[in-house]
Amino acid sequence: MREITLSKAVNEAIAEEMRRDPTIFVIGEDIAEAGTPFKVLSGLVTEFGTERIIDAPISEPGFMGIAVGAAMTGSRPIVDLMFGDFLFLVMDQLCNQAAKTHYMSGGKLKAPLVLRTNLGATRRSAAQHSQSLHGLLAHIPGLKIALPSSAYEAKGLMKTAIRDDNPVVIFEDKLMYNDKAPVPEEEYLIPFGVANILRKGSDITLIATSSMVQVAQKAAEILAAESGISAEVIDPRTIVPLDEETILTSVRKTGRAIVIDEGHQSFGVTAEIASRINEKAFYHLDAPVQRIGAMDVPVPFSPVLEDLTVPTPQIVVERARRCVKGELFYAA
């Protein structure tokens, strides 16, 4: 099968959907001729013109509001938010308006829009361009949150997002745009709320999102090779909706779990998933559920410090070993 980059996969997904459905348009900063700073949308303006690939001025609340209104009145906009950190600028339009439109209109109105943006640190982009804010949005009922972990996932999830009748936020990891993966030529969609088991294992379950899936897979390889520990790796793909059953089934089998996510550790995705495991698989746990998130600090600009703030395979391996050995971390 051919291999393409994550950038190309997203580009293809949007182009295919735009050919299929004339109500779809894209709006954002530097997306037309520039094709976004990450070149993800390169070439789309040539095919679809500036009426459907709309360069907006630096005005996130404005073009987000335009998109919500357009979505409510029959279009299917894709909003391109250059950095996930800019989410704070569009909170009212997204959380108070788009997320609640369907509910508050008693189902009479819909806001079928996609907000595509990014997450991820270690790009040396400093504290205001490196955040992973997906957990923040997952707290808001009415928003669906997709976290592609490869080019294949990015294309399938984007196409499903565009066809969804409610607002969907897709976070791509900004360090993965050039990562290649096998992506079939023929059309496919990846349904929301169906987790992907990337590796079968019997000793411990590693639940990881977005680029942390790579971290978990690397850790699983090391654990198998060096410690004889068999780790199961699960990518939830979407955290809203969350495929709880696949996670719980795995943990009931292994009795141990580590949740890995690049959002800040406190009050985030790792906390939510760990908590659900505790609630629903408690009597199957042979060790406390472990969480590995990003450090609770603004992402440092210093490369040396920045690298220390995010989960790595080594951290996962160390934690998994102690977990399987039955070392007590927190008692007494």
């Binding site: 009795g255 408690f282 009597y283 199957h284 746990l285 042979d286 060790a287 039955g326 007590l328 008692a331």
Partner: protein, 342 residues
């Protein structure tokens, strides 16, 4: 017919109102529309008007106190003396009315101080004790033990380190039926020797073996090999059985000094050991005096970074020089494990 004066709801989310002041005295005549009391809500102080003509009586809530919205705070009666009896409280109010009723000071129970209210009355069973007695085990281990009728407290008694996990249930199943009485209570140990060695050498040796051989040696069996070598030292080639005890499990090793470290084979059960080795490093035991057993007993305990080796035996089992030799040689091997290889 007296009319009730009700605490009104002055705000949307108000649940109680504070009576700032009564603007009429008990027994005073009031006219409908007269300001009767000042009520403070979270937002403002407002005057509340009388809803009927009459006399203010039966004031139940004093100025400065709060009352729930909807509660009767006073009556407007036909005579200054009032109804003579308070109107029957609604059932839901009964309990509160009772507890709120003023009680003569002499009869009142002393109010608990805030500290007393916080501390539950469990003086007989302080929290720390309760935690100390609780067995630490994973939820899964606990569930499986319950399902299989296994008693985790036997693992505690056997000295296995907590918390227990599913893997510890194997140890529990393998425990002899009555560990406590299996040790023969024979003669007093009249020989009791102790040696102290640094713990890091043996630890390092085990790690080195792990790195060299790729296998994970059972430290207790390595120790059994050293103990057997120390006892045999220059003596015969006769078979030598060592009984090694760790985490409540007892294994018999046949000639553990002859098979290469960590590769000791377990012996047929039922054979009488020539030496007993207790590996108590995983327990909290620091020093011990157990009494003589059927064979000389070497016990290894942890004391900070050091290991303590204790040899106990009956006088008839080892001569004084032999006892000193045995513990010196064993301690020497623990301190410098490479000696064993020579």
């Amino acid at each position: 017919m007296p009319r009730e004066v009700i605490m009104p709801a002055l705000g949307m989310a108000q649940t109680t109102g504070l009576i700032v002041a009564w603007l009429k005295k008990p027994g005073e005549a009031v006219k409908k529309g007269d300001a009767l009391m000042e009520v403070e809500t979270d937002k403002a102080v407002m005057e509340v008007e009388a809803q009927a003509d009459g006399f203010l009586t039966d004031v139940r809530v004093a100025a400065g106190d709060a009352a729930p919205v909807g509660d009767v705070v006073a009556l407007i009666s036909d005579s200054p003396a009032g109804s003579g009896a308070a109107p029957a409280p609604r059932p839901a109010d009964a309990a509160r009315a009772q507890s709120d009723a003023p009680v003569p000071a002499a009869q009142a129970e002393p109010r608990p101080t805030p500290a007393e209210r916080r501390a539950p009355k469990l003086a007989a069973e302080p929290e720390a004790d309760a935690i100390g007695r609780r067995i630490l085990a994973s939820p899964k281990a606990r569930r499986l033990a319950a399902e299989q009728g296994l008693d985790l407290s036997r693992l505690v008694a056997a000295g296995a380190p907590q918390p227990f996990h599913v893997s510890d249930l194997e140890t529990l199943r393998a425990l002899p039926a009555a560990l406590a009485v299996s040790a023969p209570q024979t003669a007093q140990a009249s020989r009791h020797l102790t040696a102290r060695v640094r713990g890091d050498a043996f630890q390092g040796f085990c790690e080195w073996m792990r790195a060299e051989t790729g296998a994970s040696p059972d430290a207790t069996s390595v120790m059994a090999g050293m103990a057997a070598a120390a006892l045999r030292r220059g003596a015969s080639d006769e078979p030598l059985i060592v009984a090694a005890e760790a985490f409540g499990q007892r294994r018999l090793y046949a000639d553990p000094d002859r098979l290469g470290l960590g590769r000791a084979k377990t012996a047929e059960p039922g054979q009488a050991p020539a030496l007993i080795l207790r590996d108590l490093r995983g327990t909290g035991v620091a020093a011990l005096r157990m009494g003589a057993e059927a064979a000389p007993a070497l016990s290894v305990t942890r004391d900070g970074p050091d290991m303590l080796v204790t040899l106990e035996c009956a006088p008839g089992q080892l001569q004084p020089e032999a006892a000193v030799d045995l513990i010196s040689e064993f301690a020497g091997q623990l301190a410098e494990p490479l000696r064993h290889l020579l």
